[in-house]
């Protein structure tokens, strides 16, 4: 009788685990983010002169973020309604802008560490990795930062988006850019206005 009760208990525990885990975790994506964050902070906290560290961080990020892919996402449905020249210019500008933003943020948070806690698959090529920040700053300590990781055709990983407190950076940019395009005539005309604004923004960096 006791044996039977134990079997029931084991089955119900397995059942609960099956329900509780929304999707399979992706260990590769977790390892990717864990080493990405330690490598990035190693560069930032290194001994090299600051200008050199900044340059190193930029090239490190460029090889771990597929900016072409992110650029397409940031334009939403308008990505298909613009000229190839506009597309290439946008990729160049958005890459400069994003690198500047990541660089500024990461240097500001130098000295903190990030630990991967878990991951959730949205699809086989779209994984969300959870990290927790440890920092001396009580505002940041314990903050949950999520990384959206894209898996390339050949199995390579790249950072796609970063989010905290329910807000995703690239989704916010996508909402902003599509709004600018829509309010300025849509399509190629709206895109021309967005590119003009972006040129000014990147020049001011």
């Amino acid at each position: 009788m006791a044996h039977f009760a134990q079997i029931i208990r084991t089955i119900s525990v397995l059942f609960i685990i099956a329900i509780a885990s929304p999707a399979a975790a992706d260990e590769g994506a977790e390892t990717f983010i864990q080493s990405l964050s330690s490598d990035a902070f190693n560069i930032i906290n290194g001994d090299a002169p600051e200008a050199e560290r900044r340059e190193n961080l930029r090239s490190f990020l460029s090889s771990n973020i597929n900016f072409r892919r992110v650029s397409g996402f940031a334009l939403g449905q308008y990505g298909r309604q613009i000229t190839p020249d506009q597309r290439e210019e946008f990729i160049t500008l958005f890459t400069s802008y994003s690198l500047g933003l990541y660089e500024e943020q990461l240097f500001r948070y130098a000295g903190q560490t990030m630990t991967v806690t878990k991951s959730v698959d949205r699809s086989a090529r779209d994984v969300i990795v959870y990290t927790t920040v440890s920092s001396k700053d009580p505002q940041l300590d314990g903050l949950e930062v999520m990384w959206r990781v894209a898996k390339g055709k050949n199995g390579g990983y790249s950072v796609f988006d970063v989010g905290a407190e329910g807000v995703w950076l690239v989704i916010a940019k996508r909402d902003e850019y599509t709004s600018i395009i829509a309010n300025n005539g849509g399509g190629e005309r709206g895109m021309a206005k967005l590119l003009e604004d972006l040129r000014a923004q990147v020049a001011a960096l």
Binding site: N66, R68, R69, S71, G72, F73, G76, G79, R80, P84, R87, I91, L101, V120, R122, S123, R125, D126, I128, M146, R148, A150, G152, K153, N154, G156, Y157, S158, F160, E165, G166, V167, W168, I171, A172, R174, D175, E176, S179, I180, N183, L194, D197, L198, Q201
Partner: protein, 255 residues
């Protein structure tokens, strides 16, 4: 006896509504930003930014300057504790019994050994703070957000948010205290609420404005993204995220 019946009826309604929330809640679809009144909203956005620059931001900066950080935390805790009735009502209406229990425990602990709510010993005991409102409750019932509204003085909301705020005000016992010390508490609550709220947003909003070409559109995006996260109680429903398009004209699939 009449009162008893009314109370029982109300309790039954709440329980039924809560149970419904449990069923409907899972069906909540993402509130897609919809902004048919954008021209008017942008006018009020401009207006509020002027009010902000002239009055609110200087006041928030002054508040930050004259108060040490622990005092500001204490004030935030106190205001959070005053928000207990609204949060508790909506915990129950959403059928979130565990969270309702947390809300009650937090109120009991923090009002007594937390010096009327200025300290938060409950958090260290494992009762994490959260807040709920009727806007989120309606969302879990499946009520759509309706159009985005940017209101003078009040800022970003939606049609559903306006209804939610009204219901929260009416259902909050503090609203109905019209004699001392209740009215004073309410005045202090409103005044310091605005000040602490703005102080906490000083750096994030400055940064957002610096980073934005279209500040209005950025604020709207963050409003909707935050709202979604609050409705899901921070559970991060990734199903609603827009999909990545692999292999389109942009994507060379290098990695």
């Amino acid at each position: 006896m009449i009162w008893r019946n009314a109370a029982r009826k109300r309790l039954t309604t709440m329980i039924v509504a809560g149970a419904a929330a449990g069923l409907v809640g899972a069906a909540h679809a993402a509130d897609e930003p919809s902004d048919p009144f954008e021209p008017a909203n942008r006018v009020f956005f401009g207006f509020n930014n002027v009010v902000d620059r002239v009055v609110l931001k200087p006041a928030a900066r002054a508040y930050r300057f004259i108060t040490p950080s622990p005092v500001r935390t204490g004030v935030r805790n106190f205001l959070g504790n005053l928000g207990t009735p609204v949060t508790l009502t909506n915990d129950v209406l959403q059928g979130e019994w565990a969270r309702a229990g947390t809300t009650v425990s937090r109120f009991g602990i923090n009002t007594t050994i937390g010096f009327f709510g200025f300290l938060d010993p409950a958090e260290r005991m494992g009762y994490e703070p959260h807040s709920e409102d009727f806007n989120q409750t309606l969302a879990t019932y499946g009520v759509p957000a309706g159009p985005y509204l940017y209101l003078p003085f009040l800022g970003p909301t939606t049609a559903r948010g306006v209804v939610g705020r009204g219901v929260d005000t009416v259902s909050d016992p503090l609203t109905w205290l019209n004699h001392p010390p209740g009215d004073t508490v309410r005045g202090v609550q409103t005044g310091t609420g605005v000040l602490t709220g703005r102080e906490a947003l000083l750096d994030p909003l400055d940064q957002l404005e610096r980073e934005s070409i279209d500040f209005y559109a950025s604020v709207r995006s963050l409003y909707y993204q935050t709202l979604e996260s609050q409705i899901a109680n921070g559970a991060n429903d990734f199903d609603n995220l827009p999909d990545i398009e692999f292999g389109d004209d942009f994507d060379d699939e290098d990695f």
